[in-house]
Amino acid sequence: MQSFNQTFSATEPEQDYNFGYLDEQTKRMIRRAILKGVALPGYQVAFGGREMPMPYGWGTGGIMLSASILGQDDVFKVIDQGADDTTNAVSIRQFFAKVCHLETTTETAKASVIQTRHRIPEQPLRNDQILVFQVPIPEPLRFIEPRETETKKMHSLGEYGSMQVKLYEDIVKYGYIATSYAYPVMVHGRYLMDPSPIPKFDNPKMHQSNALMLFGAGREKRIYCIPPYTDVASLDFEDHPFSIQQWQAPCSLCGSETSFLDEVLIDDQGQRMFVCSDTDYCQGQLAKNAAEEALHG
Amino acid sequence: MEPFMVAKNINKTFVLHNQGAASLAVLQQQNLAIYAGECVVLNGSSGSGKSSLLRTLYGNYQVDQGELLIRQPAHQQSDQTESTWLDMATASPRQIIKLRQQTIGWVSQFLRVIPRLSALDIVMQPQLENGIPREQAKEKAQHLLHTLNVPEHLWQLAPATFSGGEQQRVNIARGFAVDYPLLLLDEPTASLDQHNAEQVIMLINQAKARGAAIVGIFHDTWVRDQVADRLHHMSSGTDLAVSQNQTEFQSISDRVG
């Protein structure tokens, strides 16, 4: 009888690394943590994070999640601040291309697994897609309570009133809720969750999302999840309701009025332009515009 | 007529545990009955236990032996028409506190209050504790301070800086701010000039007129003569005065029983 390893090497003779870099036992452990996280939406599940061939802060949490859920048929996309072409996104995409030999893409619609840092794609996700977030600090209560024992207790007893204090302090200082990213949310009416440093513009996209959303914090070794079609509510006050960012002008490139815009300095005189942060979406809009022009022009 | 308060065979001894368990008998077989509308003046030489007896009547000293009965207003729920009696010697702290709030007023020799409180607040406080509305309490406090010649510019100040006489008059005003059925006065006129002492005499006579029972210690004989309905003689040891009291008391005591 052939041993497991022999079987394995027989099927993939040229593979230098195990599929997805992590060993099978680790992937299984992480998938179990994901299942637990899915069963308890918004709850932070501890898992045994592994050393990855890159430093913490480069997305190790997201990478471990991706590595555990990717299969040979998956199409993988990585975005960083909405862009497919930044160092972080390119490195991670190449990493998986190397250790998994799988297809990668920059098109949101084509991807089955999207790993992201700081954004949710503009294009609505489908229920056959999974969004993997890289999380620097998973604990939303850390701001108000430095003790881990205490935050655990607050979660278990659902004591989240003090989280409002953060928003209260915002209004005191700025006259409105100035928290613009990592804006705390209540998941399924039970657990308070840090949605990772996505802009609050993206918060409404988590509510009743078609896609499964997984959050991985590599340094703090925590996984939490939002299953598809789950209620996700942003905290606010009755007289200061939650609202998302708005811009004076549309995207300078594609003219979109509904996407999240980045401010880009374009010369030394302080000239600036506002462009879509989601590069794939922007290109899609441009192509659409061109097609329409061709049709009507 | 039933007395308002009856002290029966009161004994009080201080045991000083840290001084070789020395024991000081300050009250021995004290008997006293006090009626509504009268002023009983405790009379005796220094060290005869006047102050100790007064403090005992206020519940300040723990009675070792004897009974200290005070008449209670008829209980609202019960259809009892006869008065009931509470023995202060065995009453719970809460019962004593309630008595002090509603029934027994006290004017000590010295003013002892939270340092920063204004004179007006001090006089208003016992009224507020009885649920009297602030405005009404203030009016009465002002009236009393006025009667006792505490200058108006001092009312908003804390008495710590006042003269001894001024402090004492604030103290007296506080004692008279609520119409207690029983008033205990420990040398209230000691540091007052004649004019102010006369005002205090007037307040005492007014309180008697409304039916208050008063027990006091008065050093000045001329004050004592003007307020006292009778004297309660005190001395350490059994002398004639005590036995006189005893016979007098026995007849009262029988009537109460």
């Binding site: 108000i144 207790k153 007893l157 004591e159 009133g161 003090s162 409002q164 204090v165 209260y168 302090e169 209004i171 005191v172 200082k173 606010d236 006050f237 009755e238 007289d239 200061h240 | 201080f14 045991v15 000083l16 545990h17 840290n18 403090r55 519940g59 300040n60 000293y61 723990q62 009974e67 009965l69 209670q72 009931t84 009696w85 509470l86 023995d87 065995t90 009453a91 719970s92 702290p93 809460r94 019962q95 004593i96 506190i97 309630k98 002892r112 209050v113 939270i114 340092p115 920063r116 409180l117 406080q125 507020l128 504790e129 005591s253 029988d254 109460v256 029983g257």
Partner: protein, 273 residues
């Protein structure tokens, strides 16, 4: 003629005067003489109870156990907010229920104000947090209440957005009290609240506490080693020595006519004012 008083019930039987807090056979000993040995007590609405004794006598341990923060080895702490509410044995109900009860009905004033305040949150936020904890979600309303309480504890309204670390010790202590009282607790536990303060500031604070007790019908358990504080604030006093309650009763009676040797020593050691 004998025992007229026996006609009366031992306690007032007014149902409105049921004890708010009861401790029955309560004990917690870390080691012999460390902690406290069986304590029984009743505390009623509007009543101030002082626990006095020297350092290490078990006062603070007792306070923690009474206030739901330290499980006793024996005995029960029973809280009944009002006659409609069922009585709750603090250490037999779930932790969630206990914390809920403590948030809604208890206040805890620590000796060091910064132990009970959030240093990086504005004064208004520190007061408002308690309201938000019990569900307040209207900013304007939270702020209005915070402002009212700042004024009530004599902190200038213009300091509402300042951090407590910029306040003096006395102001911090008053802020801590405001934070505790904004949710209208029925029972407040104070551990040496005037401990670290200047004498002049102490007086203001005592005055404030006493007014609040009268106006809000608060019950207070105050731990102090300062007999003058106990005399001015407390209706009743409990004297502790090496984990044992040696004497208890009416404050002025215990202080003016102490029965136990230790209380006599304690009282006679105080400098006369």
């Amino acid at each position: 003629m004998d025992n007229l008083a026996q006609a009366l019930p031992a306690q007032f039987n007014d149902p409105a005067e049921a004890p708010l807090l009861r401790a029955e056979g309560l004990s917690k000993l870390y080691a012999p003489g460390k902690g406290f040995e069986p304590v029984n007590l009743n505390l009623f609405p509007g009543e101030v109870l002082a626990i006095v004794g020297e350092s290490g006598s078990g006062k603070t341990t007792l306070l923690k156990t009474l206030s739901g923060r330290l499980e006793p080895q024996q005995g029960e702490v029973i809280y009944q907010g009002n006659s409609q509410m069922p009585a709750a044995s603090l250490y037999q109900i779930s932790e969630a229920a206990r914390r809920q009860l403590m948030r809604a009905d208890f206040g805890i004033v620590h000796q060091h104000p910064m132990d009970g305040l959030r240093p990086r949150i504005s004064a208004g936020g520190n007061i408002g947090e308690r309201l938000m904890e019990v569900g307040a979600r209207n900013y304007a309303d939270i702020r209005r209440q915070a402002l009212n309480w700042l004024t009530a504890v004599e902190i200038g309204a213009d300091r509402i957005d300042d951090l407590p670390i910029t306040f003096s010790g006395g102001m911090q202590q008053r802020l801590q009290i405001a934070r505790n009282l904004v949710t209208h607790p029925k029972l407040v536990f104070m551990d040496e609240p005037t401990g670290g303060l200047d004498v002049s500031v102490q007086a203001r604070l005592l005055d404030l506490i006493r007014n609040l007790v009268t106006e809000l019908n608060l019950a207070v358990v105050i731990v102090t080693h300062d007999l003058a504080v106990a005399r001015l604030l407390a209706h009743r006093i409990m004297v502790m020595k090496q984990g044992q309650v040696v004497e208890t009763g009416l404050t002025d009676r215990v202080l003016d006519d102490p029965q136990h040797a230790y209380t006599q020593l304690l009282v006679s050691s105080v400098l006369q004012q």
